[in-house]
């Protein structure tokens, strides 16, 4: 019954007693599949049934029962995502991410899920996706109840050049939200390690939220190595491509810089097909890492560059490609793409950069461009809009009534 849309569908939660091993005892005496539960006499009283859960199980039940699972929104290799409603207030929507059991993975609970839960439990910021709760369902699947973000992601906007038009003020607003999210992670000693446009989801009110913490980890203490095989290749900084095992928050800043470049160009700036090609593209598009611009770099375990050395590209190069963001904007971009991670700007210093205060002022979130089409989701979006206390427009109400969440039928 893993994917029944009606998992929690009874309108009155009280009507459904907490399931217990005794509940179905009467009709089925034969335990054909080797279930270790002993046969149970049917004289058990109701009181005993409800006591059959221990405290943590009861708490889990309580969490689970707060939500109604609705239609499936998406399916991935690692998880399925469902729309959900808060039982006590069905106008409140959530996304329920159900982690799939991986038969091939014999090491127990998926480390990605563990990492995601661990870090999202601790991070509470307007630009980071909110984890409302976690519960496990009967088939031992983990369910993450997340903030519902209906307006797609930045990648969709970047790619839809035909229908979505945006300018510097919009780019600045999005960059501001992204940088604040990354800054907040770093201030809380968390490396995200997978920043890219399609992990930047958009809330109904236009707020951009950093999501997918499946690769995140806490800052490592000295002498404790980390893996270098993180961050999607196009956004991976040179130190990781060179096999670094001890690195800093600067890895995320490089990714932020490349998202910035992509927002302006509306195409990935350095899109390598292999790791070698990625290094090659960095050499050409930023500059070749050498002992001069990055002392010690040649000693990194996987340092390999071709013979042709490009000196670090200057402002002219960036002006030609990214000049629309203005002088200060180009300066900020260049500082995020400094090869030597020790010289790269930090997220905190990014927020102190003068660019934010130059004209044009960042667009207000409610005025930001949105993706075109997607009628159903727009409706949901309109409905969601009411939540933070935005004016309750007449139109919104009408839309809300038409909605079908596939919830309790």
């Amino acid at each position: 019954m893993a994917v029944s849309p009606l998992v929690d569908g009874l309108p009155n939660p009280a009507a459904r007693a907490v399931s217990s091993p005794l509940k179905n005892a009467a009709p089925a005496q034969a335990s054909s599949n080797g279930t270790p539960v002993p046969a149970v006499a049917p004289n058990a009283t109701a009181a005993v049934q409800s006591a059959a859960l221990d405290l943590s199980e009861q708490m889990n039940e309580d969490e689970k029962r707060k939500y109604i699972k609705g239609k499936k929104l998406g399916e991935g290799t690692y998880a399925n995502v469902y729309l959900g409603q808060v039982r006590n207030d069905p106008s409140q929507l959530v996304a329920i991410k159900k982690i799939k059991i991986n038969k091939e993975y014999t090491e127990g609970m998926s480390p990605d899920a563990v990492r995601e839960i661990k870090h999202l439990q601790e991070l509470d910021h307007p630009n980071i996706i909110k984890l409302h709760t976690v519960f496990s369902s009967k088939d031992q699947n983990l369910n993450l109840v997340l903030e519902f973000l209906p307006l797609g992601d930045l990648e969709i906007l970047i790619k839809d050049t035909a229908n979505v038009h945006y300018g510097v003020a919009d780019t600045k607003a999005w960059m501001g939200m992204l940088t604040r999210a990354v800054w907040f992670c770093h201030e809380n000693f968390v490396l995200h390690r997978d920043i890219k446009p399609n992990n930047l989801l958009i809330a109904a009110d236009g707020e951009v939220k950093l999501a997918d913490f499946g690769l995140a980890r806490s800052f490592s203490d000295p002498y404790r190595p980390m893996t270098s095989n993180v961050i999607t290749r196009w956004y991976r900084p040179p130190e990781l491509l060179f096999g670094a095992r001890h690195y800093s928050a600067a890895v995320d800043v490089w990714s932020v810089g490349l998202v910035f470049a992509e927002l302006v160009m509306r195409a990935p700036y350095l899109a390598g097909n292999t790791e070698l090609e990625q290094i090659e593209l960095i050499c050409k598009g930023v500059g070749t890492p050498t002992e001069e611009n990055w002392p010690g770099v040649t000693k990194l375990p996987e340092y390999t560059i071709s013979n042709q050395i490009t000196p670090v590209l200057g402002k002219d190069h960036y002006n030609a490609l990214f000049g629309t963001v203005g002088n200060e904007g180009v300066d900020l971009l260049m500082k995020t793409l400094i090869l030597d991670p020790r010289k790269r700007i930090t997220a905190r210093d990014m927020l102190k950069h003068p660019w934010w205060h130059k004209d044009p002022k960042p667009t207000r979130k409610k005025e930001l461009p949105r993706k075109s089409g997607g009628e159903g989701e727009e409706k949901v979006g309109a409905d969601l809009k009411r939540r933070p206390g935005v004016v309750d427009e007449d139109k919104t109400n009408k839309v809300a009534r038409k909605l079908d969440f596939g919830g309790p039928l």
Partner: protein
Amino acid sequence: MATEDARYRQSSQYRLWSFTTGHLASLRNECNSLAQKAISARLQSASPNDALPEFLTPAEELSLVTHYTVELLPRRCLHRATDRDTRHRRHLLAPLLRHQQHYDLPPTELLKTCLFFGCKAEGHYMRLSKFADKFPNTTGEEVLAAEYVLSQGIRFAFDVRHPFRALEGAIMELRRLGDFENKRIDRAHGKAREILKFSPLVTDAYFHYTPSQIMLAALAMADEGLVERMLREAFAAQGDAAKEKCGDLVQACRAMLEKEPPEKMNDNEERKSIIKPLNRKLKKCRDPDRVDLVALQKARREQAMVKKPKVPVKEDGAVFGGSIADGRESKRRKTETEE
């Protein structure tokens, strides 16, 4: 208002795992009585004529847990990992072990799971088979069996904030202030670490105090003067009232830790004499459903693989909610609406 405190209040440790003394006690009582009820029912239905065994009291449960926590400590020699690693892992256990009831799970098994899961949550993976090899007579399956129960038990709050890094911070700050000889600081540093490795784990300090308070309490046990100086530094801008309040909390925490000083770690004789009868008692009243966790786990998985069972199979649906009946009901309702 200090940003540091506001930020600590956001942590899951504060939100989910901090309790008043009275509340913690009532939780333990509730756990205990829930378990008694459930197990009585199961034992009775299995063999209605036998008399019910005598159950452990909440206090007895707690001593058992404390015992197993102490047991676990020397295990670190089994690991190649550095001292620093083991700390994290052990500290992941602290909340769970001291909060949950343990009728239903064999404590030694749960401890192994804790260690393994601790590694995972901290991001140091060890292959399961490699991990299991380190324990005599242990298979990977056994280690994993309790993983879900454990995660659920700690309400998926995987980030346990321990006081060790805080201690390093305090020591650095004290050295920088330069009011004390380095020797004195080093001595206190070493002693405080020893205390932190033991005392907070076998007391309820984690539930009632913040890591920085626990750290200062341990430091106060080692050298009161250093703590005085730290507090003066910390509260220079926040006034004497705030400073005194914090000082009181540190002292209260210290009193708690002093009941279980690290010297007691090797004092196994006394502990064992208490534990033996308790263990005997536990064996009698263990939850019959969960004696064999591996089998239970397997059954659940198999059950989950069967997409739509034609005949309702009897299962232990208790643990993870939503029994077969739900599936049937939803299916029926669905057809009705289709018609």
